[in-house]
Structures are given as structure tokens and as C-alpha cells.
Amino acid sequence: MPTLTIDNQEIKVPAGTRVIEAAKLLGIEIPHYCYHPALSIAGSCRMCLVEIEKFPKLAIACHTVATDGMIVHTNSDKAEHARTSMLEFLLANHPLDCPVCDQAGECKLQQYYMTVGRHNSALLDNKIKKTKARVLGPHVILDSERCILCSRCVRFTAEISKSHELGIFNRGDHSELLNYPGKALDNPYSGNVVDICPVGALTDRDFRFKVRVWYLDSKPSICHGCARGCNIRVDYLRRRFHHNDGKRIARFKPRHNPDVNGHWICDAGRYSYKQLENEDRLLTPQVDGTPGGWDSVLAGAAKAFAGHVSEFGVNSIALITSASLSNEEMFTAQELFGNGLKMEKIAWRIPPGPENKDDDLLIRADKNANSFAAEKIFTSTSRAKDVEEVLAKTEAGKIKAWIVLDADLGPAFGDERIAKAAESLRFSWYLGSYRNATSQACRFVLPSTVFTEKEGTVTNFAGRVQHFPAVVSPLGGALPLLEIFAKLAGRLELPTVETNPARVYQSLGQSFEHFAQPIYAAPTAKAAPTSKVS
């Protein structure tokens, strides 16, 4: 454990720690471009040059290993001059097209220019011309003139995605980042190169020219795209929705969590924000396809339920639930339908299709966000855990009614089979967010909010419970599922249902030890400002 001094502050660090990381522990950010903690060290941008006593010349903080007694000055005149010079070099051939650049506002060139640059250009000659607006793949577009050749993206494709699409070509100031001939930047993680690009060279084709980043607010969240539960940042607009095709959520960005997703998210998760406000969202309650008010539809739904129960008993009803509901929603559903109404058929299991496989990095075959909790919460009372079994029993006439919680059964079982099975049902509820074959097969449709419009926790495949706040208000007439449960309980004259997720989580913790750890008290519930590149 060497002890070193950085800017007159002493710190003890594990052996092998690089000076840049040691400084980070002291809260000192040494400006850098090419260094990224998850990638190999390139040492090429030379921005992190610092003065180390007894060293013959300045050393790069990203590569120099901290040793005992080392005395580092990050802000000496020499270090500052070197940093300013490196920035001047980087800007010498940079097009300075910030007004039309998507990166503006979250660009490390802009940021460091304001902190260590502030020089006037000494360049009297023309800048080098390079490739502009080159489409690298389905998600990423390149402006080579803006590129500072830090090679982060090259190292990402070599070391993380292991797809090897990018390289640096030519020499000297004609060096250029490009994709290898005939090879598109098309891998399941390609969007990450945009995040790690410290400048505007690699931008997201989806986000391009949409929103100036300074109009965006951010909240932390958890991706619901698969069982990994990647930590994300939701960037959204509070106003000026016309910038974003009238939508509030503009993009998902990965949020660093070394225990879950590191610095990355997959493209499927990244672009899953698009469906959150798409035209398939259910926005008003419906009966038999006819929109109605909450009160009338709820009244009808409750009446149908009560009539059915008195005639056929609860065991002719199946609860089919998505395994992506929050822990709180699953627990409330279990309390309400399993323990309260003593329904025995609660099904959530749908085996992942053959096209879904775990990969070596993040992607999980299980596309549900919360299968882990479903197994814990519903297993105790349910006697029909597989959706296939419920379908078969429906087709056999043994199950006469469905309560569906946000489960789209079409992709796994085929739209036709769902529609046909639903025809025989005496009544059916669909509590969910999207219009699909299942919602259309159900009589009563009660629109629920998506995860960005409600607060909750989900449990990833490894059992890690993670909190997400409501980022935006419910869209249209949709309500959080907990509130729909409460309204239904009221109509059915059942005990009151708690709608505050934090309090539901507390009860959940009392029933299931796995959820005993406090989550809501943690300060992570508040949006932490995270910079785009680390």
C-alpha cells in the first residue's frame, strides 16, 4: 500500500494504482481524453501530464503507477502549461463546429477549454479535411474532423465488444478513425462508443440533431430490457417536447455500476426508451374496445368479476402476470389475488425464445426485468406457474377468466392462439401499458404506466434489488399499477391496498427476507449528476 502526495494531500492506495486513479480518490480530476478505467491504457492524448518530483520530465498520470513517497503536482506551472499546450494541439485541426454538433454541452473539448484552455487560436493555416458524416453502422455516425484520435472506441471494439470494427488509419495529422473496409459498426453494444467518445466524433444517429443536451434533465433508472437490470440514466425534456417529436424521454445512457453493468448498456436496452411513449401506449380505459372513463370501466370490471366469482368461484380465474412488474406490484398482486382472493392460478413463466441467449457481457436471455422476484413472491401459493399451462387449461375450458398484468403473450404463443383462447373467456381484464394481441383479446382494459412513470424496485437475475424513481408523469390516462390495484380493491370491497411503493416494499421485506434490506432510504433515489464520460 504505497502512500503518495498529490497536490499536498497524502493518500494511501493499493499497489499498482495509477496516479490518475489515486487523484480521483482525493477528488482531484486530472483532465484526460484517452484514459478510460474500463479500457487498456493508450497514453496517447497526453492531456493528463503531471509533474512528479524527481522525474526528469512530465509524466502521464494514466500510466504512471503510484509509488511510495511519490510527490505529484497536478497544477504546477509546468503541468498546466503542458495541458494547455495539448489542448491547443487538439483544437488545432478541430473544426470548432459546436453550434451544429450534438456533443456541444457535454463535450470534453469544450469543458477543458473553459478550465485549462481559454487561448486564442494561433493557427494561420488551413485545417486538415477529413471524412464527414460517415455512417458507421445502424446506430453510430462519424465526423472524423472532430475526432481527437483518443482510440477509446477502437479499444472498446477490441476489448469489450470484441467485434473489431474500428481502427485508426494513416499517419501523422492525417490519421483518421474509420471502420475497417466492408465492416459496419454493428454489434449489440455499438452505442457505447458514442458514450465514451469524449468529443463529437461519434454521435448517435437516433439522437442526432434532436435535442440540445442543455435542455435535458436526468434521473437515474434501471433498464427493464432484460434480467440484467443495467443501471441507466434517463435523459428527458421538461418542456420543448417539439424538439423530440413531441416526446419527453430523449435517450437512455448507461450509469456506471461495477457490480451490474460496468460502464455499458446494450443497444437493445439503450433504444428501448422509444416504445415508452410510442403510439401503442394504452392511454384510456376501455371496455370491449370502447374507451370510457376510469369510474365506469372499473365499475364494469368489478361487476363482471363479482358475478363470475359467485357463479364459477375464483379458481376458474387465472392471473397471468408479466415478470417485469416491480417487486412492489408483484407483492401487491400476490397479496390481493393470491392471499386475499385465494386465486391458485398465477402464471408468469414464459420460456425465452431460442433467439434469446445470455452473452458474455451483459445481455440475458430472460427478457423480463424481474423474474427473480416473481419466482420468490408467487411461488408460495401458485399452482399453475407456466403460462402455457394456463393457456392449455383455458383451451380445455377449465379456466374461464383471465386477469392479465401487462403480459404480452403474442410473441411467445402467437396472436391467433391468444385471440382464440380468449374467445371462450367469461370475462377478462388487461392491466397493462401497451396495445397488443393480448390487450385486444381482453374485455376490460385498464392502462398502467411504464417504468419511467412510476417508482419501484426490481430484482435482477442475480437477486440484486435496484430502485428506480418516477422520471416523468403518467402518460395520458394511465395510472401506476398500484393505484389501479387500489381502485379495484375498493370496488371489490377488499382490504385497502397501499399505493406508496416505499411502504409496500417495507411489507414485502417483512414477508420475504430477500427484500428485508432497506432500498428506499438510500440516497440513490435522488438523481445524482453523472458526467457522460468517466
Binding site: G43, S85, L124, L149, I168, D173, S175
Partner: protein, 427 residues
């Protein structure tokens, strides 16, 4: 007295039989009777410096090899002779390839390496062929291969041709290139002696350095050292080019006076010409004025004079040479050869080239000389490898020592109409 160049003028000196008639392969036989450590000690005592340009003591480099590393060791001979003004290694490989091979054998024995790569610059096609032929002859004679001179010591020598990049003469770029990677310098540490070719301990030595090793064995370290000056053992090949009557490669002791090399050995200037400047150690070394050339050509003396001995490629410039144009040629070379990996060298060399090209084409601006010097100084010490420095030192040297030549261009540029590029930049 001649050592490495002894057989240069012997007809067919590149052939094994001729070479052996002239003393070839006697030193390796002697060396194989010696303990490897004794050889390293002799090389240290000989003050044999790295003659590629850096001047690092060869014996000390060898002793940096880790003792407890179980990985194989490699010897890599740097034959990527690319420094402008330097052509000494070419002469060795053309005229006495077996001397180089003998040096390789002794060095391999001393450092216990069984594979040697000769990384030769792509343009040296003829030399690569000569080396291949020499290796084949040595192998047929049992000098190389499974049993070197019958000893249970296998040694393979592989000639690897570069693809024409100056940067691959820098030892870590060379190793990357040898591994099939892009010729980009590596961050140090680790140094090649610890992690070199394929992350194995590797010694990279210049052709000339290795070619002097047999002579260290023949003469003994002390005798060899005494040929040169203090801490600069033995002799070396000086490549003299430019405005002299007898340009060529001259083998002289380290510490020979630069003035004598130019005016006696290289025949002096052409009639009626006046000496303007001398680049003493390859194009990267800071230029010397005529007043500064009365000094011994060794690593320490040149460093004390603010220049460097480098590859000992002496470029003589007389009064017919326009120094700003000469500097523009150098700037173009370095901008072309900068690998582009690190910021200061990539952007700085290109920027200096643009300025110098503009000065030559349409005259300079009053800010240009100071800006050139500023750019050069901002590169120095901040780049990954020495190329940045190599590109900057000439600029600083020329600008500081010949300001009047720049002043002429500036005067011309400032009086002329502003160029379109300058106007565009102002707008």
C-alpha cells in the same frame, strides 16, 4: 585503423569464405569459450554505446534482462536505418554481413537468446537479400541453426523487412511492427528488456552496435574503450553528406574532432564556398554554426554543446543552401513520418510543416518564427517517443541560430498582400 569497415573494400567481402580469410568468425569461437557474464562485463568495460542514436551503454542494456523470467529471450537487431543523413548500417550489411552475424552470435550467447530478428527497413531490398544469403551460408557451415559451432546452443536468425516507416526505427514501434501490429511506439515502462517482443525479454540493438561486439571480444573491453574518448568507447562510422567534396562513411574513433571529419576526412568544402551550418548527428540533432564545430564527436561532448551525436550522420550545409527551405524539407519529413498516436507530435509536426511550407511558398508572418519555436517547445518532453523531439529540435535550432534567414521571409511575407489563407484565418 579500421574495425567494422576493415573489409568494406575487400572484393566479395559479403561471402563467407572471403570473410573468414579476413578474420571472420574467429571472435565467436573465442566468445564461446567465455562465460556469458564475462562477455557482458567486457562490453560494459568497452564503453560500447548504442550507435543507433540514443547512445545508451550496450552492456548495461544487456544486464537489464530479468534473471528470473522463464520466458524466452529475444535479440532484435535494428536495421531500420531511417534517420536522414545516415547510411552506415547499409554499408555494414552490404559489405560485411557476416560481421553482423558474428556479432549477433556473440550477443545471443552472452544474453542466452536463441532467436534473433533483423528488422531491416523495407527500402533495403538488396541488403535484405545479402543478409539472407549470408544466413544461409552460415547455416550450411553449421555456424547457425540447431547447434551453433557444434555447441548445444541453437540460434536462428530471421530477416524481417519493414514497410517503410521511419517510426519503426524506434525500438518499441519496431517490436509492434515485428509482431504484426501497427507501428506505434509503446508506453514505457515496461522497457523491452523486461517486456519486448511478444511480451518476452528482448534486447534491441543497432546494426553498428552489434557489429562492434566482435571487436570488443578481439581487442578486449579495455583496449576497445581506449580507442575512443572517456565513456565513449571505440570507434564508429560517421556518415558525411551534403556540401563536401568526399561524402561517405568514415570509421573514426569516438571523440574525433568534427572539424577534422569535415575538412580532412571528407575533403572539405567545394571551392569558394563558405560553411553555413552543420547537422552533426542525423537530421534530428540541433544544428551547429561554423563557430561551434571545433569539438570532439562523442555523445557527451555533443550533448554539452546543446546538440547530440545521434546516428553520427553529419550533414554539411554551405552558403548555397537556403536554411529555411532546408528546414521545411525536414519539417515535411517529420510530419509525414509522425505516427499520429500522441497528440503533440501528431498535431505539432503537421502544424510546423504547414507554417514552413507557407513561409517558403509565400513569405512569412512576423508571428511565425516565435510560433514555430513555441510549437516545437510544446512538443518536446510531452510525446510518447523521441520522434516529437527529433522533429522539434531542428526547428528550435534553426530558428535560434539563423534568425536572419527567417527575417528575410517574414519581411517578404509581411509586405506582400495577405494571402487568401491568412485572410480566411483572420475572418
Amino acid at each position: 585503423m579500421k574495425l567494422v569497415s576493415k573489409n568494406f573494400d575487400v572484393p566479395d567481402s559479403h561471402k563467407l569464405a572471403v570473410c573468414e580469410q579476413n578474420g571472420g568468425y574467429t571472435r565467436i569461437r573465442k566468445a564461446l569459450e567465455m562465460e556469458p557474464q564475462t562477455i557482458i562485463d567486457e562490453v560494459i568495460a568497452a564503453n560500447l554505446r548504442g550507435l543507433g542514436g540514443a547512445g545508451f551503454p550496450a552492456g548495461r542494456k544487456w544486464s537489464f534482462l530479468p534473471k528470473d523470467n522463464p520466458k524466452p529471450r529475444y535479440l532484435v537487431v535494428n536495421a531500420d536505418e531511417g534517420e536522414p543523413g545516415t547510411c552506415k548500417d547499409k554499408y555494414i550489411m552490404t559489405n560485411d554481413p557476416h560481421l553482423l552475424l558474428e556479432g549477433i552470435m556473440i550477443a545471443s550467447w552472452a544474453i542466452n537468446s536463441h532467436t534473433c530478428f533483423i528488422y531491416i527497413r523495407g527500402e533495403y531490398v538488396k541488403q535484405a537479400k545479402i543478409l539472407e544469403a549470408a544466413i544461409a551460408e552460415a547455416k550450411a557451415a553449421g555456424y547457425l541453426g540447431d547447434k551453433m559451432f557444434g555447441k548445444d546452443f541453437p540460434l536462428e536468425v530471421v530477416v524481417h523487412r519493414g514497410a517503410g516507416a521511419y517510426i519503426c526505427g524506434e525500438e518499441t514501434s519496431l517490436l509492434n511492427s515485428l509482431e504484426g501490429k501497427r507501428g506505434w511506439p509503446r508506453l514505457k515502462p515496461p522497457f523491452p528488456a523486461v517486456e519486448g517482443y511478444l511480451a518476452c525479454p528482448t534486447i534491441v540493438n543497432n546494426v553498428e552496435t552489434i557489429s562492434y561486439v566482435p571487436w570488443v571480444i578481439e581487442l578486449g573491453g579495455e583496449k576497445f574503450a581506449s580507442l575512443g574518448s572517456e565513456r565513449n568507447g571505440g570507434m564508429r562510422l560517421y556518415s558525411v553528406s551534403g556540401c563536401v567534396k568526399k561524402p561517405g562513411v568514415y570509421e573514426l574513433p569516438l571523440g574525433t574532432n568534427l572539424k577534422d571529419i569535415i575538412f580532412e576526412h571528407a575533403g572539405g568544402l567545394f571551392e569558394g564556398r563558405r560553411l553555413k551550418a552543420v547537422i552533426p548527428g542525423g537530421s534530428s540533432s540541433p544544428v551547429l554554426t561554423p563557430d561551434e564545430i571545433d569539438l570532439p564527436m562523442d555523445f557527451d561532448s555533443l550533448a554539452a554543446a546543446g546538440s547530440m551525436l545521434g546516428s553520427a550522420g553529419i550533414i554539411v550545409l554551405d552558403d548555397t543552401i537556403n536554411l529555411v527551405e532546408a528546414l521545411a524539407v525536414l519539417a515535411r519529413f517529420y510530419a509525414h513520418e509522425s505516427c499520429g498516436q500522441c497528440t503533440p507530435c501528431r498535431e505539432g509536426t503537421g502544424w510546423m510543416r504547414k507554417i514552413l511550407d507557407r513561409i517558403v511558398a509565400e513569405g512569412g508572418r512576423s508571428v511565425d518564427p516565435a510560433n514555430l519555436e513555441r510549437i516545437a517547445k510544446n512538443i518536446i518532453g510531452n510525446s510518447i517517443c523521441p520522434l516529437g523531439e527529433a522533429a522539434s529540435l531542428p526547428v528550435i535550432g534553426f530558428a535560434a541560430k539563423f534568425p536572419e534567414e527567417f527575417a528575410e521571409y517574414v519581411a517578404r511575407g509581411e509586405t506582400a498582400k495577405p494571402s487568401t489563407t491568412a485572410v480566411a484565418a483572420v475572418i
